[in-house]
């Protein structure tokens, strides 16, 4: 089967640009990547960008201004498939952890004072699926080269990408690390989607959750466990909320509410 190379766009919104950078970090495959796809738009990598119909739009970053929202909707309209790359696009990223003193407005005021910024109205960061339909997620902070290339290779071949659906712990065991959580210390592995190869536990460090929440997570059990091990509730919240955005924030709220009732 010969297929036409898909028309691809890569876009970045609020985030650290790490996922786009990871695409550029595919040094050995970059030339092939540009050969196998027709990259119509990739502002971080080139200046001859043509906006128009797309087969696949890779979107990095969360949405936090009206202007971005407009642009996001416009991309959705002309892209057959929209793929969220990175944890910001998939879950909102660190800027959506809904933590810090006061609500978002107050935090904003603390940073910008009362100055009116004219370029666009800002709001608390949200993942892209808060506004448009997302066909696929390639999470990670940043995305993993291998996982990204495997997915793109499949898309180019007209196949469905496959990403691990299980938590980091599984890969952690493949790497034969003794369990940090078992030892009584914090690790976010059970709540976090695999794909990174359990990098952090392999360095003897806890998983901080940068792949975002896995599909089937038991926040309440982990919360209880950490409390038993002597962590204070506030610290647990701050540890667990770093990357999971509204989803984890909500699950934790449920846990707290249940705790309050009990």
């Amino acid at each position: 089967m010969t297929r036409q190379s898909p028309k691809v766009g890569v876009y970045g919104f609020t985030g650290c640009a790490g996922d786009q950078l990871m695409i550029l970090n595919c040094e050995d495959q970059l030339v092939d990547l540009f050969g196998a796809t027709e990259i119509r738009s990739f502002v971080m990598a080139k200046s001859d960008n043509h906006e128009g119909e797309l087969d696949v739009a890779f979107i990095e970053g969360s949405i936090s201004t009206e202007e971005q929202l407009k642009k996001l909707k416009e991309i959705r309209e002309r892209a057959k498939v929209v793929i969220a790359i990175g944890t910001c696009a998939s879950h909102g990223g660190p800027q959506a952890m809904k933590l810090g003193e006061g609500g978002w407005e107050e935090r904003y005021r603390k940073v910008y004072g009362n100055a009116k910024i004219t370029i666009s109205k800002a709001f608390e960061a949200q993942p892209i699926d808060a506004f448009v339909k997302v066909d696929m997620y390639i999470p990670g902070c940043p995305i993993d080269k291998g996982e990204f290339l495997a997915a793109v290779s499949k898309l180019v071949a007209g196949r469905h990408p496959y990403l691990y659906k299980f938590p980091v712990c599984t890969e952690c065991k493949w790497k034969e690390n003794p369990c940090i959580l078992y030892a009584g210390k914090f690790c976010g592995g059970p709540l976090t989607k695999a794909g990174c190869g359990a990098v952090c536990p392999s360095y003897g460090l806890p998983c901080v959750g940068c792949w975002g929440p896995t599909d089937d997570l038991n926040v309440s059990s982990e919360y209880k466990l950490l409390k038993e091990k002597g962590y204070n509730p506030d610290e647990i919240l701050r540890k667990l909320r770093k990357f999971g955005g509204a989803k984890v924030a909500q699950l934790l709220k449920d846990v707290e509410n249940k705790g309050a009732k009990a």
Binding site: Q29, S153, Y162, K165, E176, N218, S220
Partner: protein, 340 residues
């Protein structure tokens, strides 16, 4: 055949078996005990009670390629597995391999497993139980088969069981190190050793009657309580010597329609594992999944083969962060209460 060997000769012997294949043994590095590649006995830690992952990883790696494919079809990736000698395998892990053998070598022989099994020599070693070992309850504290050689450490010397022709071939690499002369004292020594080992177990569980208790406890609220705790992290399945479930995925080369078909460890603790078309899930709840796991190990397998699919290695005890393991689950079912 049982032979006798001086303890100080072990090192020489292991140097000679490298002629057959790469030497692997238990090592301890940065607090992790694993089977890894070693050059000599001095790099091994024979005192460690267990490795994080059982030796199944050599026979059935966490992820490997089954086929290369292109438009014309699938070609198996066989033949590139190195020959290996695994030294220091404990009886429980040999029992685990025997269970894997049943699964992978009987009806529909799995060539990937078979090739690795063929190219791997298992050199067992006796062990000292720690507070998590419970092989005495699963009847796997000693082995009669499944190994090529088995070394019982009787303080002054080794008794060496020869379990296969390949094992015997190894002996013949250095016949001068082994003696056939066993006397009365050796028997007494060995009896003493067994008595001593039996007295070392600190985890006392009783698995008799488990099938019935599982049948009776099928609808027990204990399962829901355990389900509330389980993190679905899958660690228990990865470390269990008798867990064999896997998933398969095709990978594609960039810009081509060729690639590999890969296989990797899966776990029945995952929701996706039992999901079918239309979003229906036969085991949507964690409690359902835990029940499947433990029913398989402690009820169904006993029903089929007369022994549990738990070899008492204590790995689930040493890894589950929320203390769900063979000991706590069987106790909870018997006492109808989940321990603290």
């Amino acid at each position: 055949m049982i032979l006798k060997m001086k303890k100080e000769d072990l090192s020489t012997f292991l140097d000679s078996v490298k002629e057959w294949g790469e030497l692997r043994g238990p090592t301890k590095k940065e607090g992790r005990v694993t089977y890894s590649r070693v050059d000599s006995l001095s790099q091994m830690d024979l005192k460690a009670a267990r490795t994080i992952i059982p030796p199944k990883k050599f026979l059935y790696p966490p992820r490997f390629t089954m086929f290369d494919y292109d438009q014309d079809g699938y070609t198996e990736r066989l033949g590139d597995v190195p020959k290996r000698v695994l030294f220091g395998i404990h009886p429980c892990d040999i029992h685990g391999i025997l269970i894997m053998d049943k699964l992978f070598l009987e009806t529909y022989k799995d060539p990937y497993y078979a090739e690795r099994r063929e190219k791997t020599l298992l050199l067992g070693h006796s062990c000292i139980p720690d507070d998590k070992c419970m092989c005495i309850a699963t009847n796997t504290d000693f082995v009669a088969e499944g190994f090529d050689l088995f070394f019982s450490d009787l303080k002054m010397f080794y008794l060496v069981w020869v379990g296969s022709t390949k094992g015997h071939d190894l002996i013949r690499l250095k016949p001068e190190l082994f003696s056939r002369e066993l006397d009365k004292n050796d028997i007494l020594n060995y009896t003493e050793y067994r008595k001593w080992k039996n007295s070392q177990f600190k985890t006392k569980i009783d698995l008799t009657g488990m099938p019935d208790i599982f049948e009776l406890g099928y609808g027990s609220p204990v399962w829901d309580q355990l389900g509330d705790k389980c993190l679905s992290c899958g660690q228990c399945t990865m470390v269990c010597p008798t867990c064999n479930c896997y998933n398969v995925v095709d990978e594609v080369e960039l810009g081509a329609l060729e690639g590999t078909r890969d296989r990797f460890w899966d776990s029945c603790m995952f929701r996706e594992y039992s999901l079918v078309a239309g979003g229906h899930n036969f085991r949507d709840k964690r409690s359902d999944r835990l029940r499947l796991w433990y029913t398989h190990k402690l009820q169904a397998f006993i029903g089929e083969f007369g022994k549990p699919a738990c070899v008492g290695c204590g790995r689930c005890v040493e890894t589950c962060p929320v203390e769900i393991n063979v000991v706590t689950v069987s106790t909870a079912l018997k006492e109808q209460e989940v321990g603290k």
